[in-house]
Symmetry: C2
Subunit: 379 residues, 2 copies
């Protein structure tokens, strides 16, 4: 009998309250029953996004939100600047290419964060750049790009909007959409929001809507203007993912009860405890600067395959963490502390990592990392 | 946001498969749909009880099963011998008194186990004793009475049946009903069987049924002969607790997949790891001999109130363990490793105990107990 623990950077565990609500009989998305459901979701998302603008709800994975951000605000041939420091930075470029944008990249070494000055330099040297596309938390490397500083830069350029993939960053990091001036802020359901996969969220500033008026990229499913019109009537353009939106309201209630600042603080503490525990085991963090509060990427010790650590955690102990993606595959493994996560998730993860590494021949004293985590997680 | 962990000696956590099955629409207990459900439960319980006799299913807590064992096999004035080494030993006496039996006690100091020779001596000196009433695992003290040895003694006395309260012992300890000669074996749903409270199980030997023929204690709800007749038709005497019995089948499936020997072994390992971790922290076990595989009772360090440890575990860390009962209240706290339990439940419990004790001023090095548990739980 193997009890299962989900400690991956998405999907993340779903709280019982949301599971219960989603198990209730389904209601119809065009019936009056659904109006208050979508209205509550809309308001809750505005609270989470720290914005007064509408946050659209799409029936799609986070990537659907990224595609929507490309095909609604840009046209073929438009210059955009992608910050590429990991697998999800690469995805911006791939989507941009698919829609025939003229993608320029600031290539950031994996494990590092972009320097906002480099963005400013690029925008100054090419005023035709219509958008900067970046991740908040780059899930593949465990790095957080400084969105506040980047927003302060992009704000200076009237013709340029800032598009932030906060799919794994939302809830774990403070992202003040209105106060900082983020133009497009993309979230997903299966990360900090503690839901199953299936919803993407897109917050859109007035500056971004002005771009949308001129954008000619083909669009049908991700037609954000039509979504905005529907949202005004507390509906979605196509069939609403009724069950997930009902679950969303439960998760938003949990977060509102906790408070936004407390949620950020909780993620910060869990991430800090994870990193310090890992370092106490003599392991190195993959993030060389500005580590993410959502997920910790850990360098595999010499002579050990990171994918084997991941497989052993799952096979021996029922812990689903994550291996490495893309070019980091085999060199890292990753532990999430995201969403419905508390101190004993970190302790379980660190205890499991210790036990697996010891089995795999890495020299360590059991409990070393756990003790460091305990110290930092005591309340 | 406080994630909750249920590490009490009942109710214990319910596996997702059982929760799901119990969330399905209810069926009628007198409909043909229910026949195969009760038939499967009957067979599964026989497998668990290691018996070919029927195991009755009562809609009651475990105490209901204890009452049924008293009012079906004994009459007012009958001599019975109660092994009283804890709060649940006391309960045998209380039930016996309520039904006007002539209760004799072997009083066992809390934390100790009964010496089977003392039982033999008592039975020899008073051949009129019709029953020996004992616990397998005494939940209040964390002690396991040696049922195999006790059964070997009672078997020698033709007029005497052995009645075992295995409510918290079942699944955690090997209890061979037929091979050892246990006459009445009582279980409950909310312990090793991983279900919500609400079902009691009573396995009954031919020797016990012969007692039932002569017993005149008043009975209506717990009329085990009528239950046996109903069970032959795959029914229960009164309304079946349909949902719980459907859940029971799911939990039995989980245990059958694991295998009975593996389930016993798992509980033994979890209990051993818990005890060794606790001792490594300089704490003393309350059980002075034959510790239970279901629950570990731990002596509170000098100057600390056991109830406060229990309250801090719950209030600070969301861990519901248990305090002390009856005269042990305040002097002990208890951690269960029972039912749907695995290595990281033990690690969570020990980590939590360390953090709470440190906060309460007990001197310890964080991670000391966890490391010992990790060593013993590595696979």
């Amino acid at each position: 009998m193997l009890k299962r623990y989900l400690l991956a950077p998405g999907p993340t565990p779903v709280p019982p309250e949301a599971l219960m609500a989603m198990a209730m009989p389904i209601i119809h998305h065009r019936s009056p029953d659904f109006i208050p459901v979508l209205e509550a979701a809309k308001k809750g998302l505005q609270w989470l996004y720290q914005t007064t603008t509408d946050v659209l709800i799409l029936c799609a994975t986070g990537t659907g939100g990224m595609v929507g951000a490309v095909n609604n605000f840009f046209s073929a041939g438009d210059n955009v600047l992608v910050i590429n420091g990991g697998k999800f930075g690469e995805r911006w470029t791939e989507i941009g290419n698919a829609y025939h944008l003229a993608v320029q990249e600031i290539s950031v070494e994996w494990g590092y964060t972009v320097n906002p000055h480099d963005i400013e330099k690029a925008l100054k040297s090419d005023p035709s750049i219509k958008g900067v596309l970046v991740q908040a938390s780059e899930t593949s490397t465990g790095v957080y790009h400084d969105i506040e500083a980047i927003a302060a830069v992009v704000k200076k350029f009237e013709n340029t909007i800032l598009v932030v993939d906060a799919i794994s960053g939302l809830v774990a990091h403070d992202l003040k959409m209105d106060a900082w001036g983020i133009d497009v802020l993309i979230g997903g359901s299966q990360k900090g929001l503690m839901l199953p996969p299936g919803l993407a969220f897109v917050g859109i500033s007035d500056k971004a809507w002005a771009h949308a008026d001129k954008a000619t990229s083909p669009k049908f499913y991700f037609n954000l203007k039509k979504e905005r019109e529907s949202l005004k009537k507390n509906q979605t353009n196509f069939t609403s993912a009724v069950t997930l939106i009902i679950g969303l309201n439960e998760c938003l209630k949990i977060l509102q009860k906790e408070g936004l600042e407390n949620a950020f603080k909780r993620h910060k503490i869990l991430a800090h405890a994870t990193r310090e525990a890992i370092k106490a085991l003599g392991l190195k963090l993959f993030s060389q600067e500005s580590p993410s509060n959502s997920v910790t990427a850990i360098c595999t010790p010499d002579g050990i395959d990171g994918q084997e650590i991941y497989k052993n955690l799952r096979g021996r102990y029922g812990i689903t963490a994550a291996g490495g993606q893309g070019k980091a595959r085999g060199n890292i493994f990753r532990i999430a502390h995201l969403g419905y996560a508390g101190p004993f998730d970190v302790i379980t993860a660190i205890a499991g990592v210790e036990m697996v590494l010891k089995t795999m021949g890495y020299e360590l004293t059991l409990g070393t990392g756990v003790a460091v985590a305990q110290e930092l997680l005591m309340v």
